[in-house]
């Protein structure tokens, strides 16, 4: 089975390489995003030593790293599932001896690895030439960060699977998928670190899975979470992974029964 998933990841890698223009423009877009946020935050700080518990240096690192994390965990598999359902391609997926959702997740991982190696890492190296940026020095922080990032990927992928599977019931759910995309970016801390939210919002967000997607791994990377806190964070992420599995399994079982193949 692992051979199959390795092959799927490899194939996704290859298909992403097939379009060179996409690849080059991807690197540029990452730089523009990181650069824009860097200057925006520079203006907001306006010489103040601290905002929301973060120094300007920590904030720079936070912005760069949250975009680097996003490169890895972000994927469009919900839109791919929606397209498969709308165009009836899901029929082809169902005649194959595998679980459709696991395969989608494996493809997402292939895509995430591609983005990480070919967009994010070159992007962040390029950015570090222009703006002051400190990589963590301890191996432990790196290890914790990468583990947390992998868990973040799983949580985000689960959320995407959920919105994607909804297409089986709604047929057109672009609205939900776009709303989800904006919500994940806002509530996971890409647009704004969670510590900048008002107290009541932070309390509310603690009960939602979104900050486990970006805020937690970025805090670990920026050195704002100690070892104890980091362990707690990883545990919370693992918990969310299990909790989210339940609605996916239920919806998927219903979806297979309700499946209608569009177009002949």
């Amino acid at each position: 089975m692992s051979k199959l998933y390795a092959e799927l990841i490899r194939i996704r890698f290859l298909t992403m390489l097939a379009y060179r223009v996409n690849y080059y423009s991807g690197i540029i877009i990452y730089n523009i995003n990181i650069g824009a946020y860097y200057f925006l935050w520079g203006a907001i700080y306006g010489g103040q030593p601290q905002l929301g518990g973060l120094s300007p240096e920590q904030m720079t690192a936070y912005v760069a790293i949250s975009w680097m994390s996003r490169a890895f965990y972000f994927n469009n598999i919900d839109q791919e599932i929606a397209q498969d359902v709308r165009e009836g391609k899901v029929a082809i997926e169902m005649i194959r001896p595998y679980n459709y959702l696991s395969v989608k997740a494996a493809q997402a991982l292939g895509e995430g690895m591609f983005r990480l190696f070919f967009f994010a890492i070159p992007g962040i190296l390029l950015v570090s030439l222009f703006i002051p940026f400190h990589f963590p020095t301890s191996l432990q922080t790196w290890g914790l960060y990468l583990t947390s990032l992998l868990l973040a990927f799983v949580i985000n992928t689960e959320i995407n699977l959920l919105t994607g599977v909804l297409t089986f019931f709604l047929f057109r759910n672009e609205g939900i998928m776009w709303a989800k995309r904006v919500m994940v970016d806002l509530l996971s801390g890409v647009t704004l670190p969670i510590s900048f939210f008002p107290g009541w919002a932070q309390a509310l967000l603690a009960f939602l899975p979104f900050q486990a997607i970006n805020y937690y791994p970025s805090m670990i990377f920026a050195g704002a979470a100690g070892a104890d806190k980091a362990a707690q964070v990883l545990l919370l992420q693992a918990l969310w992974i299990f909790v989210l599995l339940v609605p996916i399994a239920l919806l998927w079982r219903q979806a297979k029964q309700k499946l209608v193949v569009q177009g002949g």
Binding site: K3, L4, E7, L8, I11, L14, T15, A18, Y19, G88, K89, A91, I92, M94, I95, R96, P97, Y98, N99, K256, Q257, L259, V260, V261, G263, G264
Partner: protein, 336 residues
């Protein structure tokens, strides 16, 4: 090998109400109509058979195939194929079947067919050495060797279709479904695919199920034909029987040396059930319902009684029969 018992599939289709008021009411409460796409279909198939499922658009063929391949869950009835219930044990079951959808590709658009075959090999977890020998044979017999390295998006439809057939057979399934495999292909490619399928059926004893609108497919490949109409199975039997049942019979055109009237011919043939049509003073057309036994009798009787200068025979083609079935659907439904 295939057992299908009173299979039913219903779809709930939501009805849109007309106008703005209707659209607003639809927002709150939708009206649904239940449509029976497949209505108590029963048949069984032996190993090594090659058969066609035909019917108009919307007759329920594709829905039936989709239930047989485990894609759709039936509303009622039973299906057991290769010892599995397709929709319950889908992942295990689909290892034993191959499917070609004429209107959808199962190859990866941006990759070469060879890359797709490689991926399919790991999907089906086939044993490497045997799979390679089998793939070499597929590539040779389908004659796709010259373009398996090009990206699929650069292939012509005919080239792609042959690759699709190879892709469906990578894991050497015992049962192959082809849903309108020859749509839009030219005669030569059709011929290649048919020859390949016939050979596959003979050498590997692969059971092949075909849905098609192309009558020449059926004539070239299938002995057995199933006809569906409005979700019901209205015919299940040999192609020859189909011709007997719905064919407009056989026509014989006799050209006589001397002037001959239909009455003279009728006198010679006795009360044989046939229709005599006067073509001109020297020619008469005889229409008989079945060719079996009646044809030799008509020929020998007429030839021994009259001086005949020429004989032309025409049998209703399968195409005519299919047209008959499709156009007289109400009458056909009454047959059942």
């Amino acid at each position: 090998m295939i057992e299908v018992k009173s299979l039913v599939k219903e779809f709930r289709i939501h009805q849109t109400r007309p106008g703005l008021g209707g659209a607003i009411r639809d927002l709150f409460r939708r009206e649904y109509k239940t449509v029976k796409a497949v209505d108590h279909v029963t048949f069984s198939v032996e190993e090594g058979e090659m058969f066609a499922l035909i019917g108009e658009n919307g007759a329920g063929k594709s829905t039936t195939i989709k239930m047989m391949t485990g894609i759709l869950t039936p509303t009622g009835g039973e299906i057991i194929i290769n010892g599995y219930v397709p929709y319950q044990e889908r992942e295990k079951y689909v290892r034993s079947i191959g499917v070609v959808f004429g209107q959808r590709s199962q190859l990866w658009w941006d990759l070469s067919p060879l890359e797709s075959f490689r991926l399919l090999k790991s999907i089906y977890k086939v044993e490497e050495a045997a799979a390679n020998a089998w793939l070499d044979r597929l590539i040779e017999e389908l004659d796709i060797g010259s373009f398996v390295n090009q990206p699929v998006r650069k292939l012509s439809l005919g080239q792609r279709m042959r690759c699709e057939v190879a892709a469906a057979l990578i894991h050497k399934p015992k049962l192959l479904f082809l849903d309108e495999p020859t749509v839009g292909l030219d005669v030569l490619v059709k011929q290649k695919i048919r020859d390949f399928l016939r050979n596959l059926n003979e050498t590997e004893k692969t059971t092949i199920l075909l849905t098609t609108h192309d009558v020449t497919d059926i004539e070239a490949l299938c002995k057995r034909v199933l006809v569906m109409d409005k979700g019901k199975l209205i015919f299940d039997g040999k192609l020859a029987e189909l011709k007997e049942k719905w064919g407009s019979g056989t026509e014989i055109l006799f050209q006589f040396r001397a002037r001959t009237t239909p009455d003279q011919l009728r006198a010679a043939l006795g009360d044989l059930p046939c229709e005599l049509i006067r073509e001109n003073e020297y020619a008469i057309r005889v229409k008989i319902q079945r060719s079996q036994e009646m044809l030799p009798y008509v020929l020998s009787t007429v030839m021994s009684t009259f001086e005949v200068s020429d004989v032309k025979m025409s049998e209703a083609s399968t195409e005519d029969i299919v047209r008959n079935i499709y156009s007289t659907d109400s009458e056909v439904a009454a047959h059942e």
